[in-house]
């Protein structure tokens, strides 16, 4: 008989709170965030690292939560879209019409937010390099470009693209 029910109680630091969750060794962070904590803002789409819909921040760095095991997140600060409150990039996404169905939006916003914090003076090349990890099937990326540019420093130091 196969027994798949071995689970461990682990403590995750999510959006500034300590949360206890039950996780199997093979459970991804995405799965635990959604199914155990009800943080469904992070979306499953490819569960293979190809689309970025599941992007969260681990110690401020964007990570695809479908590729990270829940246990790997032990001892790290996890930020999900639910932990972002009234940030400039969220406002910019609304102002610029940067989403349609919205399913890719949490992932894009988390990635954009990290970019704006880590490289506030990013130029076109850096923006492109970062945001190519996320897919959007609805928009033509024009409005997302406008949104990220509007929250980055007005005059990029990096001069490329």
């Amino acid at each position: 008989m196969v027994n798949l029910v071995k689970m461990d109680l682990i403590e995750l630091a999510v959006n500034g709170e300590k949360r206890l969750v039950m996780a199997r060794p093979a459970d991804t962070l995405l799965h635990v965030l959604r199914e155990q904590l009800g943080l469904t803002g992070s979306k499953p789409s490819c569960k293979n690292g190809d689309c970025g819909a599941c992007t969260v921040l681990i110690d401020g760095q964007p990570i695809k939560s479908c590729l990270m095991l829940a246990v790997e997140a032990l001892g790290h600060e996890i930020t999900t879209i639910e932990g972002l409150k009234d940030s400039p990039i969220q406002r910019a996404f609304i102002d610029k019409f940067a989403f349609q169905c919205g399913y890719c939006t949490s992932g894009f916003i988390m990635n954009c937010h990290a970019l704006s914090v880590i490289h506030p003076d990013a130029g076109d090349e850096t923006i492109r390099e970062w945001l190519q990890s996320n897919l959007c099937r609805c928009t033509g990326y024009e409005e997302i470009t406008e949104a990220i540019k509007s929250v980055l420093a007005q005059e990029p130091k990096e001069n490329n693209g």
């Binding site: 019409f97 169905c101 919205g102």
Partner: protein, 781 residues
Amino acid sequence: MQKVGIGVSVPRKESQDKVTGLAIYNTDYLSPKLLYAWLVTSLYAHAEIKSIDTSEAFKVVGVQAVITGDSYHLLCGPVIEDHPPLAKEKVRYFGEPLAVVIANSEAVAKEAAGKVKVEYNPLPVVNSLASALKEGAPLVHENVAFYKQVKPNEIFSKAGTNIAQHVKIRKGDLPEGWRQSEVIVESNFSLPQSNHIAMEPRNAIAEIKADGQVIIHASTQAPFDVRKILCRCFNLADTQVIVNTPLVGGGFGGKTNVQLEIIAYLASQAVHGRAVKLIESREQDMTSSPGHLGLEARVKIGATRDGTMKALEITLEVDVGAYVDSGSQMTRAMAADCTGPYHIDHVWCDAYGVYTNHTYVTAFRGFGRLSYVFAIERTMDKLAFALGIDPLELRLKNALKSEDTTPTMVRLNKSSIGNLPACLTKIKSMMNWQEGVRRETGSNKVVAKGISCLWKTSSSPPDATSGAIITINEDGTLNLNVGTVEIGSGSKTSLAQILAEKLSMDVNKIHVVMDVNTGISPSHWKTVASMTNFMVGNAVLDAAEDLVEQLRSIASIVLRCPPEVLEVGGGKVYLKEDPEIYIEINEIGNGYEYPEGNSIGGQVIGRGSFIMHHLVHMDKDTGKGKLGPAWTVGAQAVEVEFDTQNYTYKILKAATVIDAGKVLNPKGARGTITGGMCMGLGYGSRESCLYGEGGERKNPQLRTYHLMRFGENPTYLVDFVETPLIVAPYGLRGIAEHGIIGIPAALANALTTAAQVELNQTPLTPETIWQAKRGKLDDSL
């Protein structure tokens, strides 16, 4: 009075939820009571199922049930019932669901699904349109003649062949057309199947209550169709089925198909009605659920030397895959519009929907138009070249206009067709067309432009309906309840704008009910065909009129005057001649109370509905008929920078000018168009379903099936023409799908000009261009 209605870029109503992660999609439906299903899918494209052994799967702890196709005598399908929800006796495509494991968790279900052992007896695979249509080809379906036709007026299959649908257009006198032609051009085209890739994978939840009530939660564009099809398949009364649909994470036509809802229902049945959630993996979404059709086309066009088109003969062979679903409808829709937006007196079209052992297909943005438009628009360029006429001028010369007839013999008028010449004139200056379509810019680089035109009508059932309900809150705001699903097109917001305009109200004072529940929401055919604003918009206007009439009648008592002298606007009912005499609608919207306590009125509920009219089925022999109320037209162009040494290219610009009738929400409309253009560029440049020799799918993942990514998009140029459609709210025309339609053709025309070789297939990768350049398909040097 603040007024925010038509023509204003109102942010979508659900904006806050979508940027905070609080927006709820069907995948987000969580509950400890849920069981989870996982599909076991076929490893062969065509094979007899010798046996399915589920014993090992049952041994996995947490498994509740395993179901297989042979337990059911069930055939489903929206047009012809040819489709067992779980394969029975044989599999007809790689990835076809043949069993389902239901377990306490998805991990367990998936683990156990891997232990289901299937023995196959491989059959010859129908792996291309050519092999499907060959004499004596193996049959994908042996018993087509015995299948029940749900829409007998709309499907003409040929027993004993793989032809599931044959649509004919016979307009004018073709031999006469050739006699009048001085120049004739011909070409063949090949466009493979592709995938929708909505970012939310397809998924459904089913539950059957003790009293037989069926509750479905589905990520669908067609909740009312889900209900209808479940009722038909399982002999249920429509009151017995309730379908709930929250926000949908993209559809593009792929969620018009009813598949997982049926499987989830069977799964729930197998566990005594408990709620079962079925989410497809991305790979399953790309192989087990339907994709976008493939097409092989032969086009022959004749014209006089001055460029007047006289004759068109076109054969369309549509790869509908293993089951018809809506493939037959798209075959029909393509045939009906087969000329492109050009006036041609003599037209023959034979459009075949052909069964193959590929994944079956369903509606896709543009409902087939993008594929045949590629063939027509490439041939237009070839004709222009043969005539020595500028390709844009040739299109301008032949553009359909009022009084012309369509291939299905509908006489057009000023309202039913948009203004294509105006679109072409605009795009001409937008793309700086006069500077020429090809210029060498040094170091092996060529910059080239290509153009194409599009037109599209809808293809709804002739009796498609929509409804709308409006109620008034205590604070004077309104609630708008409609049966359309919010799939990303912003339709709920557009409908609020239509209502705001009609009642001269601030759109922020109109709340929309986001979710659809078929037990409560007024019904709507489906959220497809760019018809929401037209159909539901008309129902909203009708409901608004009903509301206004009721408000005036109550206000007339309170204000002591006849209702005719009253007007409703800005949240008030007021005297036309003296707006200072008024009553706020919230004072009468839920009953009016006189100071001494007497009350009149009661709740005011605005009810509205809409039904299509004067649509006519296409005639079996000539195609004469009318599928939709009007046509949207547009012109599109692409500019590329091409490397003549290694055949790589960069897409510099893409342009669209479309006759929107009336632009409801400028920013929203631009986004809808550019989104379609981006998808069209992806389809034209990289997307295709690759099948191996045995019909197995080679690229069912987003790392092998490439989409346009951030930064690969060109500069978009978008503009509108506004020729009102008089039967539509504020004159609007559907534009939601259209951004995609002409783009692959415009790209191919630009690259043909750049590479100076005819490019008649997609996807246009450097490799396929190189192959065309070499004139053969092998890659030996």
